[in-house]
Symmetry: C2
Subunit: 391 residues, 2 copies
């Protein structure tokens, strides 16, 4: 009998993993793919159908004249709730297990009003979105949340988030779980955006770096198709890498940080110093679009500064894709040209020959899609499925 | 029944993985640890004993008065051959499966004499070492080789190695395999040194960066306890990261590369320009030890330059350990002080609070140990064992 990755017999979760490609298959086909006997396949399919992860239907006419029963992933059986919270705005969605968005809403929701008010508003919005889709709350199998600050991975709690007063150590998963009746996964915004872009960039991207260029600058890192969080969960924090030949003061207390020369806040400050009204990165991009040359030069230069830091990281990490997201990514080709210019001139040819550098495909939906990816990968993992489907 | 990582029934490979910690166990203990029935445990142990991976012995007296049979990993049953080839010297060893060195030799072996002469010399030396240990060539279960240049991971063949004329695309695994009768794994020297140091740094280091400071400068990267090779297998190539405020010409054709200011060859050239005889990094370190202040300053400054590049990488990657190896590591505290000075001043406190920065524990044996680690992890992996032990 062929065996699984660890030389062990495939369980119900392994069957479901096969069917998640959306193709319906007969018992015989599944037996052939897994090496399991047809009776074991039947038993596992029964367990998966009891939990409505799989549905049976009529397939093509077989040679004997009778149509064979085929089994398909039931991506519509359950739903996932997903929320991407920013400093002032949030995007929430209800998705099915195939990551089709069933309902979605962008709302004003300042995160500085504290966790209970903000998350109360999240719960209310989820209920409204569920009602709009006609789904029942019992169909919710998981909740994903992205927060604009550091999150302790094991507990899902914010850890000293600079722009989230009152959130430090708040038990987000427990608070939301008690109100929504489903497991809750929490991560920081850059990590979930990386997950969303990695999902969108299918198939087969092993090593992807997502750079968020907004008020701050940070990376989400995917390697071997998983998030790389690092030893303290601090990986990706490139906003405070020292840029040569700059002594611009940074909000972190140091000088010459990447964020202090290429962050949205610093660019807006530079424009204000020149007498132009600008509050943040979005305003800088709007001015650039309106033809303001100072704003255009700033955007291009910010791309170059980010590119100079990433050039070293490309040599070190050898990614296959770099995705630029965040407010500044809205500047499109201008920012991309700056990033590409420096990476191609300073990184090794071997590391850049097949490197794709592009702006986010999902735009401001990367976070809400990525938080749902995080939940679906957890809920449908073979480990979780085997635990649930005991039959 | 408790199940394995993928929710599947543990095979013979999983039993062996448990016993590899060196502790002998009874059938009952193994049944309890795996959730397998005692009869299944017995069956798998028989298979493992047939292949001599496991031996049975007499344990402590049990409560019933009769000593229970215990089963132990038979680390001495087979041997691994390991070779770490440098530009001019090589180190070769015979090790058992517990990575105890049984015989070892450092020899002069210039790699520029071409693959057939060099590898012929490797085969001869392996046979002499085997004879010295009294082991028979049939006991060899795998061969590990480190080469001083890029190696294509899938094929184990050198890929455009700059200092290895005649080796490009040479089928090293097939050539050696035909003469040594065992599977051959090949990787570049920095990757195998990282594997060796990771093994020595047990237990529980997830994210380790090994920096080789020699004639050239490069990294081996371990994340999630595996080598990170990147999209083109080019990961870790930090020697050509641009250093600010330098226009020193580099052998790669660019200027201002890290290697051009902190590599052993460039340091020796700087000393020669000042009228001091020095051929490479080893000479620089020897001069430093003899009290030459110019050499001492160069070593310290090389540490700072490497530290400045690594500071950005620490923010990006958040490793728990950085190990410095290669000829320059012989300078010990002088080079370490330079590296630490810049990393601690420029990286984020969260990323450095538990970061250990140290010189190689294994010294010039890191490569030969690491190549053996690569082989043992392959030969004893549950997948390989399950494939062999069919009983």
């Amino acid at each position: 009998m062929p065996t699984g990755a660890h030389g062990q017999v495939p369980g119900a979760g392994a069957l479901l993993a096969i069917l998640r490609d959306g193709q319906a298959r007969t018992r015989g086909e599944l037996a052939e793919l897994t090496g399991l006997s047809r009776s074991t396949v039947s038993q596992r399919l029964d367990g998966l159908m009891d939990h409505r992860w799989v549905v049976a239907g009529e397939g093509a006419i077989s040679s004997g004249g009778r149509p064979a029963t085929v089994f398909a992933f039931n991506g519509g059986a359950r739903v996932v709730l997903s929320a991407d919270l920013g400093a002032t705005h949030a995007r929430l969605a209800v998705l099915d297990l195939g990551l089709t968005v069933l309902a979605e809403r962008a709302v004003e929701m300042p995160v500085d009003q504290g966790p209970e008010r903000t998350l109360g508003c999240v719960v209310d919005t989820f209920h409204e979105l569920l009602a709009a889709t006609g789904r029942d709350p019992v169909q919710v199998c998981g909740v994903g949340v992205g927060l604009p600050g550091p999150v302790e991975h094991a507990s899902g709690r914010p850890a000293n988030p600079p722009i989230m007063p009152g959130w430090d150590g708040f038990a987000v998963p427990e608070w939301l779980g008690a109100r929504l009746g489903a497991p809750v996964l929490v991560d920081n915004d850059v990590n979930i955006m990386a997950l969303g872009e990695h999902w969108a960039a299918r198939p087969e991207v092993d090593h992807l770096i997502f750079i968020k260029m907004g008020t701050g600058i940070g990376c989400g890192i995917i390697t071997g198709r998983r998030l790389h969080r690092g030893a303290q969960g601090a990986a990706g924090d490139v906003g405070h890498v020292r840029v040569p030949a700059s002594d611009a003061p940074c909000r972190c207390g140091n000088t010459g940080c990447l964020e202090a020369v290429a962050g949205g806040a610093s660019m807006a400050a530079a424009l204000r110093a020149a007498g132009v009204e600008a509050r943040g990165g979005r305003d800088v991009v709007a001015l650039m679009r309106a033809g303001d040359l100072r704003a255009t030069r700033l955007v291009r230069q910010a791309g170059r500064e980010v590119g100079a830091v990433m050039a070293a990281i490309v040599n070190f990490f050898n990614p296959s894709v770099i995705v630029i997201g965040g407010d500044l990514a809205e500047a499109g080709e201008q920012v991309l040209a700056g990033v590409r210019e420096t990476i191609y001139s300073r990184s090794l040819p071997l590391a850049t020959q097949h490197l794709s550098i592009r702006v986010s495909e999902l735009g401001d939906r990367a976070g809400v899609i990525g938080a749902a990816v995080m939940v679906v990968e957890h809920v449908l993992s073979p480990e979780t499925i085997d635990r649930i489907v005991t039959k």
